[in-house]
């Protein structure tokens, strides 16, 4: 059963999606609500599990990680290698930020960070291509990325 949201709830979600550091007081002022009323709504949305994780917006390039690559990975010899073995090995790679199990042309979608292209090649050769059961791998270098607010109209 999903939660019913009114326009104010949606405005709160939109604001927190853009800035998680907003306090209930500042957010309330912006929406014309009192601080306690705003706080109650945030509490309800949090308890319902609608408000998810708080994430940092990092400038990876400033940290020396200039390259982000998405890999589509297809497992070879399905059935002979267990998904668990592959998953256990892939999540242990520090350069792999996300691992998603997908259905379609590939079995897994990985987000990999590297300092530069030679560093990415090292990760690909030494860490990715040696994973248990790994088959075909497709790489696409990330050029730009934007988050959209989603259907909160």
């Amino acid at each position: 059963m999903s939660l019913d949201l009114d326009a104010t709830d949606r405005a709160i979600l939109r604001a927190l999606q853009a800035d998680a550091t907003l306090k209930a007081s500042a957010l309330g002022r912006r929406l014309g609500l009192s601080q306690p009323a705003t706080w109650r709504r945030i509490k309800r949305l949090t308890e319902a599990g609608v408000i998810g994780t708080r994430r940092l917006d990092l400038d990876l390039e400033a940290l020396g990680f200039g390259v982000t690559v998405f890999l589509g990975v297809k497992l070879a010899l399905k059935g002979r290698v267990s998904l668990e073995d592959f998953e256990r090995a892939v999540v242990a790679i520090p350069e792999v930020q996300t691992v998603e199990h997908v259905l379609g042309l590939y079995d897994y979608r990985l987000r990999v960070v590297a300092r530069d292209l030679p560093d990415f090649e090292r990760v690909l050769r030494r860490r990715i291509m040696t994973l248990p059961g790994v088959g075909q791998v497709e790489a696409n270098v990330l050029l730009s990325e934007e988050r959209r607010p989603g259907p909160l109209g």
Partner: protein, 131 residues
């Protein structure tokens, strides 16, 4: 913040100063909340990988501008590689997805090819880098 200072093994004041510096340097730009769309009834998530018709001069700009107008698109990424653009699309059901796909996605300009990957599970999601 107290926990962060403890974890980093530094006094609280130093920790604040360091964070301020990371912000001033632009390394730490801010924070945002994610939304658990499944809790709002959006149980379907699909990754659409698109190839654009690059012979059209403003293919990328026009495609991206139109894609931003589709409310169910939650992420837009552009790539160098076989795939030009990836859209993350959420829907309430497969029927709803089909509607969005037919009415909103296929009508976007300059599409040469589309492949869909359906999201089954997120195994790992972290933002850390091997510093």
């Amino acid at each position: 913040m107290t926990q962060l200072a403890e974890a980093a093994g530094m006094p609280l004041a130093t920790c604040y100063k360091r964070l301020d510096r990371l912000q001033a340097q632009g390394v730490l730009r801010g924070q945002h909340h994610t939304i658990n769309w499944s809790e709002l009834g959006y149980g379907v998530e699909v990754s659409l990988r698109l190839t654009l018709d690059k012979t059209a001069p403003r293919a990328f700009d026009e495609f991206l501008a139109a894609a931003r107008l589709v409310p169910e698109v939650t992420e837009i990424q552009t790539f160098l590689g076989r795939v030009d653009v990836r859209l993350a699309v959420i829907a309430r059901s497969m029927t709803h997805y089909q509607e969005i796909y037919r009415d909103r996605i296929l009508s976007l300009p300059h599409i040469a090819d589309i492949e869909a990957l359906m999201q089954i599970a997120t195994i790992k999601h972290q933002q850390t880098v091997p510093l």
